[in-house]
């Protein structure tokens, strides 16, 4: 796919994302989300998106912005409870939802990016999640078959990058971003800093996974639950 290219414009970076595309989007809650790419996609107005992301933002931030603008056709997520617009669109039948256990979701994305079409897991056995899935026993324990996920695009957020697209994440803002990076046919990464002297021993995502790179300024980094120790 060629070397990652540092681009200037977020609008240009999302230009080729077509209506109906499948996007894998990094982040956990509002932590480590690609906030500028999401806003560029909102401006572009791309519709009928299938979005694979652990959560769906809140009403006025993160993926909630695309939801409010009716750009999402289907969400594949593990937890979507923080969003009123989500509930409205889901209950009216406008929005399709596939709930996937969080670890299965992470592994499905990782597998997709690693060229593994499916894997067996005990997660979900005996629950509604297992309905219709192949069951198989290994050493006396039952597992279900789960399939890898590949996206037309992956939108991710990292802390630092070099111009080869090598990425370093910050603290728990790493979350789904490294697996999302692997599973996009085209991976677009936004970062806070570009530094061409990253130590190769400390790279989290090797540049081979990243096709487009952008630097954002003044990240909002909204906090969902500000919790402080009073003493």
């Amino acid at each position: 796919m060629g070397r990652a290219k540092l681009m200037e414009s977020f609008n240009q970076a999302v230009e080729y994302i077509q209506d109906g595309a499948t996007l894998i989007v990094g982040g956990f809650g509002l932590c480590g989300i690609p906030e500028y790419l999401i806003q560029a996609l909102r401006e572009k107005g791309t519709k009928d998106l299938t979005i694979v992301s652990n959560n769906c933002g809140v009403d006025d931030w993160g993926l909630g912005l695309l939801l409010a603008n009716k750009q999402i056709k289907k969400m594949i997520s593990s937890y979507v409870g923080e969003n009123k617009i989500f509930a409205e669109q889901y209950l009216s039948g406008e929005l399709e939802v596939e709930l996937v256990p969080q670890g299965t979701l992470a592994e499905r994305i990782r597998a997709g990016g690693a060229g593994i079409p499916g894997f067996y897991t005990a997660t979900g056995v005996g629950t509604p999640i297992a309905e219709g899935k192949e069951h198989k026993e290994f050493n006396g324990r039952t597992y279900i078959l789960e399939e890898g996920i590949v996206g037309d695009f992956a939108l991710i957020k990292a802390w630092k990058a070099d111009q080869k697209g090598n990425l370093v994440y910050c603290k728990t803002a790493r979350n789904f971003n490294p697996v999302a990076a692997m599973a996009g046919k085209v991976t677009i990464a936004e970062v806070e800093e570009v530094d061409d002297n990253l130590n190769p021993d400390y790279i989290h995502t090797p540049g081979v996974y990243v096709q487009r790179l952008l630097q954002g300024a003044a990240y909002s980094k909204r906090i969902e639950r500000l919790t402080v120790n009073s003493h």
Binding site: T121, T123, G126, N175, E224
Partner: protein
């Protein structure tokens, strides 16, 4: 007199042993962290990608990039590690987490757990609960014994959709402690001031007496 939740938490913290790696669920289980003895070397895992959760931050320590699985701002302890979501669930699914303490809506006499969805109410999702109950070495559920209408939450069969089938090792309620073994459900402890008769009366599930004195 301790309230219902305090009783449950005080008993649940006894499950924590020095040297363990532990995942605590959102809500009541999170409060157990405050009761862990200071001299224990315990690492708390947060499934969004941290082993070694510390206390909540002071106002000037708050970092938007550092949250727990409940999306609350936290800190880290010395010796902590960050990792991605696939690695986080590899350590859970792969049996590297010694103990998980989670909340419950219903537990059946076979150790089935329901704690993620109430049909007819808004679907929120299971998050990491299904992975955790099938992955951690020991699963302890903490919950109130009866609903606010007085109905038993300890059932013959769960009426709600399951989170996991035969996954619970121990159940701690405000009335008693139960273990789930190949012989079925056993009453192993009573909370103080509670009688076997009271437990029987408020429990739909069938259990054997195996009280440890």
């Amino acid at each position: 007199m301790m309230n219902v939740r305090e009783r449950i938490i005080k008993r649940a913290v006894k499950e924590v042993k020095d040297g363990m790696n532990i995942n605590l669920g959102i809500g009541m289980p999170t409060l157990i962290a405050n009761e862990i003895p200071n001299d224990f070397d315990v690492m708390l895992q947060s499934e969004n990608g941290l082993l070694g959760i510390g206390p909540y931050p002071s106002e000037n320590e708050v970092d938007a990039d550092l949250i727990n699985a409940g999306k609350e701002t936290v800190t880290t302890v010395t010796g902590s590690a960050f990792f991605d979501s696939a690695e986080s669930f590899a350590m859970i699914r792969g049996g590297h987490i010694d103990l998980a303490i989670l909340g419950g809506m219903e537990v059946s006499e076979r150790g089935d757990l329901a704690n993620w969805i109430i049909p007819g109410k808004m679907v929120k999702g299971m998050g990491g609960a299904m992975d955790i109950v099938n992955g951690a070495k020991k699963i302890v559920i903490v919950m109130e014994h009866v609903t606010k209408h007085g109905a038993s939450k300890v059932k013959k069969e769960c009426s709600l959709p399951l989170t996991g089938k035969q996954v619970v090792n121990r159940l701690i309620t405000d009335l008693a402690v139960f273990d789930f073994t190949s012989d079925g459900m056993e009453l192993v402890e009573l909370q103080s001031g509670v009688t076997v008769e009271e437990v029987r009366e408020k429990t739909e599930a069938e259990f054997k007496l195996a009280l440890k004195v």
